[in-house]
């Protein structure tokens, strides 16, 4: 517990409520108070849903008073990236333009599942406009600052989600990941994050970016909370065309079953060439704990990353083309010209990218016959100063903003499940490693993560806010 930030872990909170040690209303008030005190420094939240949180809390308290069994996340505060529909609240997706849209009548599918699990929605969180960025430097709603060093970025595009969890404003948050937008902020803020297999979680009621690449998933400050949240989010949804309609395959009970029989390898080549020293140290540390003495080289990773870049630009540009014609000036300067250029991509380039994507997927899946978990850094470097334009990497000067996704993009391209484990150094800024499994084997990601946790190398460090 870290009472000064208002929340403990989700599992601790739910247990305290069940035991009668506190009430859901008291928990909600505590979280709302922490947000009011701390978020002025960080700018994680774009809306605080005080009335809704208290109404949900009162309903949970009433159920407890009536002697009902409480759902697994009863009384747990959480928040969502502001591209999730929240009934009665306009879905901004980080934009000014969406302010003109009517507010949704219904919650997004995953918000509804969190409600059913007893959780309390305390607000919506900042992001890059339309999720097209890795830094959460938003011209309309400001920059979300990193709780470990507020002069630095929180990553993106789910920067508000990563920073709010790192600052212990909420124990859980939901985000989205098209090219790395859960994994990059999880790494830079030093928290746990999960991008499940493409199609695992329903995207109904979330504002899209790149339909063929968009994933939703959770952030948490503890691994057990990440598992509990992920398990609460799973399930079929016929209303989402991309949902794979899988049964719930819970990980909470299996992640402690050990990893001895798991075949673990390090991703080499491209993934080893794009690392600063802190990232390399984190990967070395994870590989040592998990016994990853073998290195695996994926074929044509740089080309795969290039296809993700082109697919993203093309689908994103096409999605926003009507507004690019009518409301160019209302877009964020960091996104509008990239979207417009993307809308001009020839169909033959886009289709070649999709075909190479299928080629890459087939070859990587073949490799999973011989390995269960792959390890790579989540970001090339820890959090950089706000406003940075360039990254020095392997002797090259690269544009920083797109380069933060160098290590995540090739993996989301083919929909693999990836769990980011925070592996912080003894001192200095946190950074995370990706634990990558075959499609639908999120359970292997969690078992490997649990081994890192048990060895004491993976943990979400508490920032020195208020110190």
């Amino acid at each position: 517990m870290s009472a000064r930030f208002g929340t403990g872990s989700a599992i601790e909170i739910a247990a305290a409520l069940r035991d009668g040690a506190t009430s859901a209303v008291a928990i909600a008030e505590s979280a709302l108070g922490a947000i009011a005190r701390v978020d002025r420094q960080l700018n994680c939240f774009t809306a605080v849903t005080r009335e809704r949180a208290l109404a949900e809390a009162e309903a949970i308290d009433a159920r407890r008073a009536a002697g009902e069994a409480l759902p697994p996340l009863a009384g747990v505060p959480y928040a969502v990236k502001n591209l999730y529909d929240v009934a009665g609240l306009t879905t901004l997706a980080g934009s000014e333009i969406n302010r003109d849209l009517p507010s949704p009548a219904h919650d997004a599918a995953l918000v509804a599942r969190m409600h059913d699990a007893g959780a309390l929605l305390v607000g919506t969180l900042n992001m890059d406009e339309y999720a097209y960025g890795f830094t959460t430097e938003n011209a309309h709603y400001g920059t979300t600052r990193n709780p470990h060093d507020p002069s630095r970025i929180s990553g993106g595009s789910s920067g508000g989600s990563g920073a709010a969890v790192a600052a212990r404003l909420v124990p859980l948050a939901l985000g989205s990941d098209t090219n790395g937008s859960i994994r990059v902020p999880a790494s830079l803020n030093g928290v746990w994050g999960l991008k499940p297999t493409y199609g695992r979680l329903s995207r109904r009621g979330s504002f899209p970016f790149v339909a063929s690449l968009d994933h939703l998933g959770p952030f948490a400050a503890t691994l057990a909370d990440l598992a509990a949240c992920y398990d609460a989010l799973q399930g079929r949804d016929a209303a989402d065309a991309a949902c794979a309609q899988r049964p719930i395959e819970a990980v909470g009970r299996t992640m402690g079953e050990g990893f001895d029989e798991l075949r673990v390898a390090r991703l080499g080549g491209y993934f080893d060439e794009h690392l600063t020293e802190p990232a390399r140290v984190a990967v070395d540390c994870a590989c040592a704990v998990l016994g990853a003495t073998r290195t695996v080289i994926l074929p044509e990773v740089a080309k795969a990353r290039a296809t993700a870049f082109v697919i993203t630009a093309s689908e994103g540009g096409a999605l926003h083309l009507p507004n690019l014609r009518q409301r160019y000036g209302d877009f964020d300067p960091l996104t509008r010209d990239r979207l417009m250029a993307g809308a001009l991509i020839p169909a033959a380039w886009y289709l070649k990218a999709q075909r190479l994507r299928a080629w890459f997927r087939a070859r990587v899946l073949e490799m999973f016959r011989h390995v269960d978990v792959l390890i790579a850094a989540a970001t090339p470097c820890p959090a950089t100063p706000i406003g940075s334009e360039w990254l020095e990497l392997a002797g090259l000067r690269l544009p920083l903003r797109p380069s933060l996704g160098l290590l995540t993009q090739p993996l989301s391209l083919i929909g693999l499940p990836v769990l980011v484990a925070p592996v912080p150094p003894a001192s200095g800024l946190p950074i995370g490693v990706q634990l990558i499994a075959a499609p639908w084997r999120e359970d292997n990601c969690f078992r490997a993560a649990n081994a890192l946790l048990a060895a004491g190398v993976a943990r979400a460090p508490i920032p020195a806010l208020h110190a």
Partner: protein, 60 residues
């Protein structure tokens, strides 16, 4: 695609898409499209067979 071809392509594609740009916007979009074109070069010549179909499948 050389620089002249790239500029001509952006102008023609913007006209086809109904996008009207100021000089400043045009310069920025040309720069961004140039980046995309440079990145796409990495894979446009990669040999694929007719059996390498794209992944998404429409399921009626």
């Amino acid at each position: 695609m050389d620089e002249v071809e790239l500029i001509e392509y952006v102008d023609a594609a913007c006209a086809a898409q109904g996008l009207t740009l100021s000089d400043r916007q045009r310069a920025s979009v040309i720069e961004q499209f140039g980046r995309i074109a440079q990145i796409a070069e990495a894979f446009l010549d990669f040999p694929l067979g007719p059996e390498d179909e794209q992944a998404p499948v429409f399921r009626p």
